[in-house]
């Protein structure tokens, strides 16, 4: 589990599938990273202690300019690092298609997201545009089609561990599958001007019935 996930507001519920996938990949990076760092630090501390200057041991300065070539040593370092990197890289490559590619489920909900200085608006089927909040039904896959009307923004829902750039003229896709009725923060993660810090919206996950009623009753902004 990521060290900081404990900070997340959603800790009480089971994380949504995208966050679970993220966490499983994160764990590989985290544990192998910490282990590699620990081994490096251990070697470093040992070497520094073992070869500390002691009385009677003087090395003439010219010795430090001699050849000290080894090819085997660097190859071993490369091999060890290579094993770790392949292990973590493979996790990314394996999980990535699921993470990026939206499912082809006919029941899914497509929501257009438009970033604009300094708010998000959401385009529901039938071109109904709503400024805030973004309501979605629980248990249904939601595809966000993200773009921008002015400058670069970045559309992120931290609890779902998804994020993508909102760029004028470009449509980027992220998808989520809400698995609990709750509120989540949507925030802009790319500097977009003076209102960047407050470009926050809410993702409201409700039951299908509430969602249908809400969509019918809400007028387009």
């Amino acid at each position: 589990m990521p060290v900081s996930l404990a900070l997340s507001a959603s800790i009480l519920q089971t994380p949504p599938p995208s966050a679970q996938l993220f966490n499983s990949v994160w764990n590989w990076y985290f544990y192998l990273g910490v282990a590699s760092g620990a081994v490096t630090f251990a070697v470093m501390v040992y070497v520094l202690y073992r070869y500390r200057a002691r009385a009677g041991k003087e090395i003439s300065p010219e010795k430090s300019r001699e050849d000290r070539n080894t090819w085997k040593g660097p190859l071993i370092v490369f091999a060890l690092m290579g094993i770790v990197l392949v292990a973590v890289g493979a996790q990314t490559v394996i999980a990535l298609p699921t993470y990026l590619n939206p499912p082809n489920d006919p029941g899914l909900l497509k929501v257009g997201v438009i970033g604009q200085q300094f708010f998000w608006s959401f385009v529901y089927p039938d071109n109904k545009t709503i400024a805030c909040p973004c309501e979605v039904p629980v248990g249904v896959e939601v595809i966000f089609n993200v773009t921008s009307r002015d400058v670069n923004h970045q559309f992120g829902i931290p609890d779902f561990r998804v994020k993508t750039d909102a760029i004028p003229g470009v449509h980027n896709i992220v998808w989520i599958q809400p698995n609990a009725i709750a509120n989540y923060t949507i925030q802009c993660f790319e500097l977009c001007g003076v209102g960047h810090a407050t470009m926050i919206s809410t993702l409201v996950v409700v039951s299908q019935e509430t969602f249908d009623a809400w969509l019918n009753s809400t007028a387009s902004d």
Binding site: F30, G156, P168, F189
Partner: protein, 798 residues
């Protein structure tokens, strides 16, 4: 009279030249000595870090508590965050590395100076003036740039950043790119051609190796962002639409920015690692472990791969998923040489006798935090993890562990290691230890909590209390205050040493076997009088030269004022243009009269794999440097061509061939320029045969053809304007004017050089034996002609 004695006399003559009124000021404004230029770089970067650090202090104060805590407005915070990044990376860290490169590379390789001392001073002044232009935005209406240090489009455009701050950053950056290009050509040629006899590649100290890699990275990465910045500046001043039109905009800018920006990380870190390696050798008494394999892995993997992985900054822009995975894996591959670097440094100590003096403690701290910074970066290389980590404080923590941790600590090791060589003074070991402990503790206190904030966005000026980020931010702020305060200890050490207070240092206080410690600290013009004094007699002529030259300073301040004038009004502009022109005129005049002579060695040292072709050594170096500059210029033209290709791929609507431009006219004009190339060839032929008068005629013909090309191009512009096809006529207009403008500027620069050549020819200084300036000019002119020939079909026939 012995030759060594003559050198002493030459030194005395130089000291006398330093002594008239305002000698102190004249020395620092006009010096071209690599050691003094190095010190100028050093102190300037220290001033800039004071500004950048103060901005960091302001930002941390603002972030210490959640909303409604309100010390800085959102706009003030955005200015601070943008300028902090620009200053720390471009005006502090890389120039600090350049300070050491300037000072110690010639000393380490046994050269008397860098290859082109005047260009070296020019690089420095362009850096200072560029930096001042950038930060002058704080005094402009609307404040400094607010679009982040990366200046992402279209936020950087006049529509979304209407104030002059962003324009000043663009103009300042242009000067900085000039400075970096000149500096890299200079240092690369110095290392390639000026190594003393016996200073082979194998023996070359690690710091010089790392400088070489750094400068190669700069030489080929700067042209890309130079093209990008030019497009940005024309967007903001002339109304082109590169970064407003969706066909260019964000993705175009990000490509151009990160093609430079990612290698820039290595530019910042590698000199620090060079210094760390030097320090480890001296304070452990052991040679670098596997130095050969390490240098090869940096040169063969790290340097080229750093260009291929820049798009990992763009994972979320919607680039092709396959490309994303490819870049992810390339990034991981580039972890290998970085990891090897750390391991090699650690294993160097094996079998040694480790003395924990101040330089070593900082070197070890740099290694330790680089491990953390590097491993945290592997997380960001994952396309998947990047989906969450992008734009959060995890990334801020990661790159500060690299930038402040590894690079700045490594360069602090360099300061403590080389300070006695610079100043002849030792420093207080107690103060340096206290500085180390406080820096290390407060650094980690500032940046480690950021790894826990992987949901907090970067560059926000405030956050809600309900996020729970407050306590982490509060600790970070306290750490930042402590870190800033502890740097006053370093300042104290520096001021004491440079004011010669305290204990004098012996010539080689660390008993280092590094070659730079054997140079003569008292000599002004020769770093190694003894080495060259022992050259066979006849080959060694004493040279009295003055390293003072005012032209680099004049041109730089002229350009700086010109750029400021574009924003702050025409009086500054007028003064700037006059000063620039006067400086360029003076530079050429100095050359014609031979006032400024370079301190060339009398015998050639190690130059493998290049072969000295028998020309005068200075001429040979100019030739090598010209080729290198043209290589960089070629990358620049490729970047501009890449811009055109990018736009064309994203914009299917393009005017039909022949509908906008008068193609026969343009074809004729291209032929005019080609003809100028032919007349130049004839001039060279005459020069080789010693026919001075005929040569001059052909040179004048070249001038007429080249000038006609410019005039006809000018009429073409006017014609297009009158037809309503202007800078802002969409992408076709923008690309047309940018590209013809760039080639026109090249032709104009060439004509200026040609004026100088003609003047030289008329005064009979271009002879059968000595016609190198003409041949060097022809390299440049032929390059420009070739570029225009390539441009013709690209712009008009496609």
């Amino acid at each position: 009279m012995s030759e060594a004695h003559e050198h002493v006399e030459a030194n005395e003559a130089l000291k006398a030249a330093y002594s008239p009124t305002l000698a102190w000021l004249r020395k620092w404004l006009f010096t071209t000595d690599h050691k003094e230029v190095g010190l100028l770089y050093f102190w300037t970067s220290i001033w800039f870090v004071a500004i950048g650090g103060a901005l960091a202090g302001l930002m941390r104060t603002q972030l210490a508590f959640p909303a409604p805590w309100d010390i800085l407005s959102a706009s003030a915070y955005n200015q601070a965050v943008s300028m902090h990044g620009l200053i720390m990376v471009l005006l502090f860290l890389s120039p600090l590395g350049a300070a050491f490169s300037n000072y110690f590379v010639p000393l380490q390789i046994g050269a008397k100076d860098v290859a082109y001392p005047r260009f070296n001073a020019f690089s420095y002044w362009m850096y200072l003036m560029g930096g001042l232009v950038m930060i002058s935005g704080f005094f402009a209406p609307g404040g400094a740039a607010q679009a982040g240090w990366t200046n992402y489009a279209p936020l950087n455009s006049i529509t979304f950043s209407p104030g002059p701050g962003e324009s000043l950053v663009g103009l300042g950056l242009l000067m900085l790119w000039g400075s970096l290009t000149m500096g890299s050509v200079n240092l690369i040629i110095t290392i390639l051609t000026m190594r003393a006899p016996g200073m082979t590649w194998k023996k070359m100290p690690p710091f010089t190796w790392m400088t070489l890699f750094t400068q190669v990275l700069l030489l080929f990465s700067v042209p890309s962002i130079l093209a990008g910045t030019l497009a940005l500046v024309t967007d903001r001043t002339l109304g082109t639409v590169f970064f407003l039109n969706p066909a260019g905009s964000t993705i175009l800018w990000e490509n151009m920015w990160w093609f430079f920006g990612h290698p820039e990380v290595y530019v910042v870190v590698l000199p620090a690692f060079g210094a760390i390696a030097e320090v480890l050798m001296v304070f452990t008494g052991r040679p670098i472990w596997a130095k050969k394999a390490l240098m090869i892995s940096v040169g063969v993997i790290m340097v080229p791969f750093s260009f291929s992985i820049y798009a990992h900054h763009m994972f979320l822009t919607g680039i092709n998923p396959l490309q994303r995975e490819f870049i992810d894996l390339n990034t991981e591959i580039n972890t290998l040489p970085s990891g090897l670097l750390v391991i090699c440094m650690i294993l160097t100590a094996v079998g040694g006798s480790i003395k924990f003096k101040a330089p070593l403690t900082f070197a070890l701290a740099a290694l330790a935090v680089f491990v953390i910074g590097g491993i945290s970066g592997v997380f960001d290389s994952s396309v998947l993890l990047d989906q969450e980590l992008r734009g959060t404080y995890q990334v801020v923590g990661h790159f500060h562990y690299i930038m402040v941790g590894a690079a700045e600590f490594g360069l602090m090791a360099a300061i403590y290691y080389w300070l006695p060589k610079w100043t002849g003074m030792m420093y207080s070991s107690a103060v340096s230890k206290l500085h180390f402990i406080t820096s290390f503790v407060f650094f980690n206190m500032t940046f480690f909590p950021m790894f826990y904030l992987l949901e907090m966005p970067r560059r926000v000026y405030t956050y809600l209390a309900s996020t729970g980020w407050g306590s982490y931010n509060f600790i970070e702020t306290l750490g930042a205050y402590g870190f800033i305060m502890s740097q006053f200890l370093l300042l104290y050490v520096l001021v004491q040493a440079f004011r010669h207070k305290g204990t004098p240092a012996p010539p080689n206080p660390w008993k280092s076997a590094g070659p730079e410690w054997t140079s003569d600290p008292k000599s002004y013009i020769d770093n190694y009088p003894a080495v060259y004094a022992s050259a066979p007699s006849g080959e060694h002529a004493p040279h009295v030269m003055t390293p003072l030259n005012s032209r680099p300073f004049t041109i730089s301040i002229g350009l700086g004022l010109t750029f400021l004038g574009l924003i702050f009004g025409w009086p500054l502009l007028a003064v700037g243009v006059i000063l620039t022109a006067y400086g360029i005129y003076g530079w050429a005049k100095d050359d014609l009269s031979g006032v400024f002579k370079m301190p060339g060695e009398e015998k050639v040292g190690e130059t493998w794999p290049f072969k000295h072709d028998g020309d005068d050594l200075g001429v040979w170096r100019m030739k090598m440097g010209t080729w290198l500059f043209l290589a960089s210029d070629l990358v620049f033209f490729s970047a501009v061509a890449g811009l055109l290709i990018f736009v064309r791929l994203h914009l299917p609507d393009w005017p039909v061939v022949g509908s906008v431009f008068d193609i026969p006219m343009v074809a004729f004009n291209t032929l005019v320029l080609v003809t100028s190339g032919l007349t130049l060839m004839l001039a060279i032929q005459d020069a080789k045969e010693g026919k001075g008068a005929s040569m001059t005629k052909w040179l004048v013909a070249t001038m007429i053809f080249g000038g006609s090309f410019l005039i006809i191009s000018g009429f073409e512009w006017l014609d297009q304007f009158s037809k309503g096809f202007t800078f802002s006529s969409g992408m076709p207009g923008s690309t047309f004017y940018l590209m013809t403008g760039i080639s026109g500027a090249h032709v104009f620069a060439g004509l200026l050089m040609l004026t100088y050549i003609i003047k030289k020819g008329i005064s009979g200084k271009i002879t059968k034996e000595n016609n190198s300036s003409l041949r060097l000019f022809s390299l440049f002119w032929m390059f420009v002609v070739a570029m225009v020939i390539v441009l013709f079909p690209a712009l008009y026939l496609m």
